[in-house]
């Protein structure tokens, strides 16, 4: 008997420990909010991606979150508890879950989709809004009150909701309308928060304090205009749970539900699918006196719909960071991205160059801040847009002052009619010309040769280099480099490399 008892007790303990272990492991995975950035809750490209889901996908998503709807309120703690609660509030039965809800003959999925198209807001944003304000997406017994104030629009903290905003369609419509107004920086919709630094409170209780948040894009600005508080550390530590008396959860829950259901709000992890993308690789100086960092860029076709920068750590074997920028996909026939140190601080800035089809009709330069998620400067140059197959824009420090100059190089046909390659060097700000050079070299076919700039002799000044790639000048059959003297009027050196010319595909200009 004692032996049997011992065996049973041991088995019970093992079973108990096992169950506890499983349960602990599952709980741990839900703790803490990962990747929260108070100044950059969601990328503009994702917030406004109105093509992310069609009506059928929205419907399938809503179906998946509530497999069985408790229409008659019989699945509570007792068979009548939910029903009694609903009736005590004066609401009618049966209850209708979001997946089967209709208004004016339209399903909730259709309403979400229609509004998303009207205001060009990602339907996923609207779905998450319905969840974060009323829990409607996961609720299997929603009440009329939840639909009436579905997105919390018109509901202040200490006063009754305003009835003019009641109704599912009305609610979603007003929310998307407000988001769009903020995104467009509408002059008729004043925004309490601004791009840049803002003091944002931890909760409606001002005595809980605030911190400075650098709001980096319009979508984040719109979310704070909607829910004007940020989660404190206690709220972030709690995951989906409850923090302390100074915790606010609106924007945390938006972030958690969005990332939980639809993936990264910033698209930082999208290298798994690179099909049909336009990509390039370049090197930039991140810090003075440090090696240049290799950067893999996705110009178009990224899952975020944004230009993405993926920076390698030294050794090029691992990623250092991933950034989805604030700029939407670009067409490489119209634009290019380059790095240059324009201000002489020893660090390269990333520059988006509008070469063709710009709104101003001129070549434009848009300089990113270091974070690649906001703009530092925008310049409209004095030069008309170009055909990138005829001319190119480059950067080089020709005068050795530590700052790179912008250079417009005429490759296939000269501006002055000289018949030679010409270099036109901008002053700082790109509004006027500093120098014009007519080189000693005849115009070239860019599919055969190219012009580049680099400091080959280490004197602090970049030299111009005519690179014969696919057809050589000397007849050597190898790639040749012809280095100009300053002023481009004569040659300093000629190099015949060890690389066969024919085997080299000409890379696209970065």
């Amino acid at each position: 008997m004692n032996k049997n008892k011992y065996i049973l007790t041991t088995l019970s303990i093992i079973l108990g420990l096992l169950i506890q272990n499983v349960s602990l492991t599952l709980n741990v995975s839900a703790i803490q909010v990962q990747g929260w950035d108070a100044g950059y809750i969601i990328a503009d490209g994702i917030f406004t991606d109105n093509r992310s889901m069609n009506v059928a996908q929205i419907q399938a998503f809503l179906d998946s979150k509530v497999p069985v709807c408790d229409n008659w309120g019989t699945n509570g703690s007792t068979p009548t508890s939910r029903r009694d609660y609903v009736l005590s509030k004066g609401y009618a039965l049966p209850m209708t879950c979001l997946k089967e809800y209709t208004e004016n003959g339209l399903t909730a999925a259709q309403i979400i989709y229609d509004v998303s198209q009207q205001y060009q807001i990602n339907p996923q944003v609207l779905i998450v809004l319905l969840q974060k304000e009323q829990g409607l997406v996961t609720d299997d017994w929603p009440t009329e009150q939840q639909y009436r104030s579905a997105t919390g629009y018109g509901c202040p903290d200490t006063a009754p909701c305003d009835s003019q905003y009641y109704g599912l369609t009305n609610q979603i419509n007003w929310s998307a309308h407000m988001f769009r107004a903020i995104l467009n920086n509408s002059p008729t919709w004043w925004s309490p928060y601004v791009l840049g630094n803002n003091n944002i409170q931890w909760s409606p209780n001002a005595s809980c304090g605030s911190s400075v948040v650098n709001i980096q894009n319009r979508s984040t600005q719109a979310l704070y205009d909607y829910t004007p508080y940020q989660p404190n550390q206690s709220a972030l530590n709690a995951g989906y749970g409850t923090g302390d008396s100074c915790s606010a959860y609106g924007n945390r829950n938006f972030y958690l539900y969005f990332t939980g259901w639809f993936g990264s709000t910033r698209g930082d992890y999208c290298l798994s699918s690179l099909n049909d993308t336009s990509t390039g690789i370049d090197f930039k100086k991140i810090q003075k006196s440090s090696p240049d960092a290799g950067e893999f860029m996705i110009y178009s076709g990224s899952s975020t719909s944004c230009v993405e920068f993926h920076t390698w750590s030294q050794g090029l074997a691992n990623w250092q960071n991933h950034t989805a920028s604030n700029s939407s996909n670009i067409n490489l026939t119209d634009s290019s991205i380059q790095y240059a140190d324009l201000n002489g601080d020893g660090k390269d800035e990333a520059i988006l160059i509008g070469l063709k089809g710009t709104a101003s009709g001129k070549i434009e330069f848009h300089i990113w801040n270091d974070d690649l998620r906001s703009w530092k400067d925008h310049y409209i140059s004095n030069a008309a847009t170009i055909d990138p197959t005829v001319s190119q824009v480059s950067f080089a420090d020709l005068d050795g002052d530590g700052k790179d100059e912008g250079i417009l190089t005429s490759l296939t046909s000269s501006v002055s009619g000289s018949g030679n390659i010409e270099m036109h060097v901008w002053n700082q700000g790109f509004g006027s010309w500093k120098d014009h050079y007519i080189s000693n070299a005849a115009t070239i076919d860019p599919t055969v040769s190219q012009v580049s700039f680099a400091d080959l002799d280490g004197d602090g000044k970049d030299e111009g280099i005519l690179i014969a790639l696919a057809s050589t000048v000397s007849g050597s059959g190898n790639i040749e480099m012809h280095i100009w003297n300053p002023g481009f009027g004569s040659w300093r050196t000629h190099y015949i490399t060890n690389q066969l010319a024919k085997s080299v595909p000409i890379p696209p200009q970065l």
Binding site: I7, G135, T138, Q146, M178, W189
Partner: protein, 187 residues
């Protein structure tokens, strides 16, 4: 007695056998779950390596959080409705107005406010004073937002304004009124 012992032994064997099967099954299920090998029981946490939509059932955390949101919303509405019905309509009503943010960007001071009502009625009067110095005053309209209203301002040019300033903002709409003051340092 012998027969009873046999019965006890066979019972024990059955218990041990069943327990062993249960334990082994749990280990197996746990292994499959952790390795994402159960197609009908996907882990609810979204795989950040792709941006596909999670069509699996909501996790317990998500459901629990949704229930808390629902409860909180219901409680707030109940509380606000009770407070509203018990307020004496003839008395002057106090409205809560807050300064959400005072931000200096370049040469401007941006003041963000929240009024705890949804309304476009009334106006906001802002007075900014520095002891023994100038007084700056602005009056702006009110704009409804999603869960509050805001004074449609204020952006104040602060060139030459350095030092300590007192800001007072009054919201007034008939007999509804709210008032907030704050001291700030302009750099």
């Amino acid at each position: 007695m012998k027969i009873q012992n046999k019965k006890r032994h066979s019972k024990l064997r059955i218990i041990i056998l069943v327990t062993t099967i249960v334990v082994a099954s749990l280990f197996g299920l746990f292994y499959l779950y952790k390795n994402n090998k159960i197609p009908f029981l996907e882990q609810s946490s979204h795989d950040t390596n792709n941006s596909s939509i999670d069509y699996g059932p909501a996790s317990q955390d998500q459901i629990k959080s949704g229930n808390a949101i629902k409860q909180d919303s219901s409680n707030t509405e109940d509380k606000n409705n009770v407070q509203n019905s018990s307020t004496d309509n003839n008395a002057t009503k106090n409205i809560t107005i807050s300064i959400l943010s005072t931000t200096q960007n370049n040469a401007n001071l941006h003041i963000a406010t929240s009024i705890d009502r949804i309304t476009s009625d009334g106006s906001c009067i802002m007075t900014m004073t520095q002891p023994g110095s100038n007084t700056v005053s602005q009056t702006v309209k009110v704009q409804p937002m999603a869960s509050y209203s805001t004074c449609q301002g204020f952006d104040i040019a602060i060139s030459g304004f350095s030092g300590q300033w007192n800001i007072n903002i009054i919201y007034k709409n008939g007999d509804l009124t709210g008032n907030i003051s704050k001291s700030i340092t302009v750099n």
